[in-house]
Every structure is written in C-alpha cells, then in structure tokens.
Amino acid sequence: MDSVLLIYKGIYILAIFGISLLIATYSTYFERKIAAFIQDRVGPNRAGPFGLLQPLADAGKLFFKEEFIPARANKVLFILGPGIAMLVAAMSSAVIPFGDTLILGETTFDLIAIDVNIGVLYIFGVVSLGVYGLMIGGWASNNKFSLLGAIRAASQNISYELAMGLSLIAVLMLSGSLSLKVIAEQQAGFNWNIWYQPLGFLIFLICAFAETNRTPFDLPESEAELIGGYHTEYSSMKLGMYLFAEYINIFVASAVMATLYFGAYNFPFMENLRNAFDDPVLGNNVVTILGVGVMFAKIFAFIFFFMWVRWTLPRFRYDQLMKLGWNILIPLAILNILLTGGGILLYDYFTKG
Amino acid sequence: MELTNENVLGKLIAQFGEENIVDAYNPDGIMTFTTNRENIIALIQYLYDDKDLQVQFLTTMAGIHFPDHKGREMCMMYQLHSLRHNFRLRIKVFVPAEDPVLPTLTNIYATANWMEREAYDFYGFIFTGHPNLIRILNIEEMEYHPMLKQYPLEDQTREDKIDTYFGR
C-alpha cells in the first residue's frame, strides 16, 4: 500500500467519522424540527437562525454539566457503557461505500474506508455489539428502571438481529457477495435490489427500527414506562454519548438500507451522463460526485422516515414486540429466502437453459 | 315495586324494629335515617341482598363531627344507591367521641376500604375488621385527626397574613 493511499485512507476515515458526528448532531436538530412541523409547531428557533445552533447549545450545555456517578453504581462499567455505545456506533460506517471511484491524476480513490470482502458481516457484527453499551450502562447504574431498560434492549436486539440477518441473506443470494462495494456496484443505474426484495426490505426496515431503538420499538428508553430506560442515571456528556450513538446508529442504518436496497450511490441514467462527457475521467468524477450526493439524499430520506414514524406510531408492548419478531418476522424472512432461492433457480432455468 | 321513601322505610322498620331505625326524614328528597353501630352492617347487607330493593351501590361515606352533641359527637354517614330503581338513601350512625368504633363495611363493598381509611385519617373512626386501617391522605406521623372541629385549618407557619382583615 503506497503512502498516498494510506494518507488518503486516514483522511477519508477522519472525514467519514466527522460526517457521522455532524449528521448525528444535526439529526437531533432535525428530529426536533420535524417533530415540531409534524405537530403544527415551529420548533427551536431562538438559538441562531432557524435554531441552527441548537445542537451546539445542547452539546455545550452537556459538556459543562456536572458529571454524576451514582453512589451505588459500578464506576468502571458506568463510564464504559456510553463509551462502548459511541465507539461501536462510530465504527460501523467504515465499510459503507459512500461513492464510486474518484480519479485524481494517476491515482484512483475508492470512496470507501475499508473495502473488506465481508462488509455485510462486519456491519452485522458491529451492530450486534452495540447492545453491550446499553446493557452495561443500564446494569452499572444500579437502578431498576435502567436495568429493565437494559434487559429490554438486550432481548430486543438479539431477537431482531435474527430476522435482520435472515432478510439480509436473500440479498446476499442475489448478489453472491458479502462486500458492500460489490453489492453497490451490482445495482448500477436503476437496477436496485428493492425491486427484487420488497418483502426483504420491509423486514430489514422493521428490524432497523428495532435495532436503533426507535419508536415503535423504543422500549428500552420508553419515557412513559421507564423514565429514561438505560440512561436514566446518566447526566452530562455520558448521556450525550448515548443520544449521539442512537443518532449515529440511525445514520448507519439508513446508509446500509440505501446501500443494500436502494442502489447506494447509483441513480438512473448515470451511464448516459457518464458517456455524455468527452473526457472519461471527468465523466467518471462528475458521476461519482453526483453519486455521493444521491447517496446522502437517500440517507437523509431514510433519516426523515425514521423520525416521521417516530412521531406517528404508538409503541409495542414487550411481549408483542417479541411475538412480532419471532412469530412473524422470522418466518417471513425464511419465506423470503425460499422465494428468492426459487426465483433464482427459475431465472437460471429460463435464461441458462 | 315502586320504591318510595315510605315503603322502603316501612320495610326496614319491619325488618329491624322501630328502635333501630330512628329520626327518619327527607331533607332533600333522599331518605335519611339513623341507626346504631350494632345494626349498620346487617342493614346494609339486607339492602344489598333484598331482591326488591337491590341497593347495591355505595355512593359515599362521610364522617361528621358534632362537638356539641354530647355522647354522640361522631357521625358516620353512608349513602347508598339502588341503580336498578334509581333510589337513594342515607344512613347515619352516631357514636361517642371517646369510642369512635364502627364495624367495617369492606366485606360488602370493596369501595368502603379507602373511604373508611379516609374517615380514620380525618376523624379517627376505628373500623373493626378493616384489613389495613392506616392513614391514607396525611403522613403517618401525624398526631391528630385534622377534620375534628377543634383543630385549626391553617398551616401554623404562615407568616404573610394578618388575621384581623378576614373576619374570621
């Protein structure tokens, strides 16, 4: 690996990290604004123009709020919890292809931090670790509400991971690869996976809601029942990290959904556009940059959807949530795998004879 | 049977005897009479079980303190309602202040539980047989029963008031 590429990777990873943080920060702002607009209100508008400085105000306040560790809490784990949540959330954006290749001079830059051939599994593994942050934090608080929140988080995440994985398998069967980059490339133009996997996408979407603890699956922190759930005892920036982690998770989930089902950075007629330029390098770069824009547009659309749903639906009850996961989603996901397999076989039969 | 104050009263007197159903009158269209603590539960049970009356709803219970009635200072008022016949009646029991003991009604009406606790809290009535007779609204450490007429209403620590203006 030459040094240019290494430096580039370093910068790129930092940039992606920064963008994740920025998006997470502003997700709080958009959450408030979207909630307000849905509810016929105007939302924050005093801190800066249109309230744009609101997230900074929140962050500034949280940073300078008193750190508080409950007397009977397990101090090490209490501090570790939000750290894990944040770290794990930030790690997962590494394998997402935010764009195609960018050609500058001689070098070709891939707009992906690490192109591992098991990208999907990586995401899956990292996401499955996210629950530790909540569990450890909730348990270490030594508060029954936190503990209940932690327990709910744990069982919910485990249950929905299964359905999520099963719904993914159908996509993998179509693509034949575990690399997100490959999956993205396969969906060139308008050949998005959503056309082949509507049911799989639906299952994945529901599971994404559950994995990010958003309404209607926000049981671990449901205010009306558990006050703050696992973060009841957290103040200051540790709370901020939990909230941050949640929004980064939303961002990552949106990015993954966009990549897996909605063609990542691909958009219709991109080939036509690419060919319209005389200079292939220029054409490629323009399409790539447009593709990055398209990717982020898709991500934002999903983030909006997350918030839109949050402010519309009531939440499930614990046993209903479990029932939905185990009795409905997992069988549906298996059915989806069978259908996909059958479809592939039929397709092969008719095309290849 | 059309329930009127007269025929219900007649029925009750026939059942429990004239000495136990006294002072019957209709102050506001609701038949009111007085009985004693020996008969109150049987009376309410009778009203509950009787096929004609079906007085099966305890509207409310309230303690009243008459410090001037010697020997019968404490009064407990039971107001019952027959939903079927839309007929209300009010029963009073007087007991002396030194001995504010009444039998509990919780075996017939579940709702009497807290009402009795409230009466205990406010007036110091003691209901024998009550499952959990502790204060309900006030703090348990309170040393008196605040609704008795001799105790003041006001918070004694208030500073910003001059009583002479208020005619009380």
Binding site: V116, I118, L121, V131, M135, W139, I151, I158, E161, M322 | -
Partner: protein
C-alpha cells in the same frame, strides 16, 4: 510485523482468559470473555480468515455473551453479589486435581504434534475466504455439515420445549 501482532494478541488472549476465571464479579468475567473472543477473532484475521472472525464475533460476542450477560443481570438484580464462591476444601482439591489432569492430558496429546509449516509455493492465501469455505463445506464436508444442521434443529426444538414448559405464564 505479523509475528509481533500475533504475540501481542496471544498474550492478550491468555490474559483475558485468565481474568475470566479470576474475576470476582461475574459481569466482569463475561466482559473478559467477550474480550477473549475479540482477540481470538484478531487471530483469525491474522490467518486471513475474515469470515470466521466476523462469524465468531457475531455469534459468540454478539449473541451468546449477550444472553450470558442478560441472565447474570437478572440474577444479580438488587443484590450485591461479591462473587466469592464458598466451596468446601474437598471441592477445591477436586477442582485442582481435575484441572491438573486435564492439563496433563493436553500436554500429553500435544507433545508430539509437529506444527505444519505451509509451503509458500503452494500456499493459497484465499483459503479462508468465504467462497472457498462455502465450496469446501458444501462438497467435501457435506455430510458433517448436514448432521450439524440436524443437531441444531434438534437442540432448537428442545429449547422451545423447555421454554414452553411453564404453561400459561408470560415469560420473556
């Protein structure tokens, strides 16, 4: 580079594994166990077996240990378990003897093992990749693979049966 990484991870693995045993608080034990899985996954990555590494984390760290922790949290609710397991001296001796025997067996078994060194000329670095793994699993090891699947099915049915035993009760 790779070698130093290996020694680093190996020592970390051993350290974590020891900590699993000696940690007083069961929750700490579980957390060290998770760390152990991570370091083992790191070894897999050193061996260029990325699939195994990921699966190891997903299955063990991501699912099974969550359940462990879950159960521990349930047991621990409200009580301050100091983790000192009070066993009789006999059980301690028995434990020591059993552990010692196991150690002897392991040593005896591995005494004559010759560590095979891959031939650089024929060594295929892609052997641990998903595609190859899949091919091997579905051709050469087809029967064992199917048997394992059946085993899983049986154990799953068994788990469901155990879980169902408390009829009429709402459980997690």
């Amino acid at each position: 580079m790779t070698e130093s990484l290996f020694f680093f991870f190996a020592s970390l693995t051993l350290l974590c594994a020891v900590m699993v045993v000696i940690a007083k608080n069961p929750v700490y034990s579980v957390i060290f166990l998770i760390l152990t899985f991570f370091t083992i996954s790191a070894h897999y990555i050193l061996l260029n077996a990325q699939f195994l590494a990921a699966v190891n984390i997903i299955v063990y760290a991501g699912a099974i240990m969550v359940l462990f922790l879950f159960v521990l949290m349930f047991i621990n609710t409200g009580k301050n378990v100091q983790g000192t397991v009070k066993g009789s001296i006999i059980s301690k001796i028995a434990g020591a003897v059993a552990g010692g025997l196991l150690f002897v067996v392991v040593v005896a078994a591995l005494k004559d093992v010759t560590l095979g060194h891959p031939d650089p000329a024929t060594y295929n670095s892609q052997v641990g990749m998903v595609e190859n793994l899949g091919k091997v699993l579905f051709t050469k090891y087809m029967l064992p693979f199917q048997l394992v699947a059946v085993l899983f099915l049986v154990s799953m049915v068994g788990a469901v049966m155990i879980g169902k035993r408390e009829a009429g009760e709402q459980n997690f």
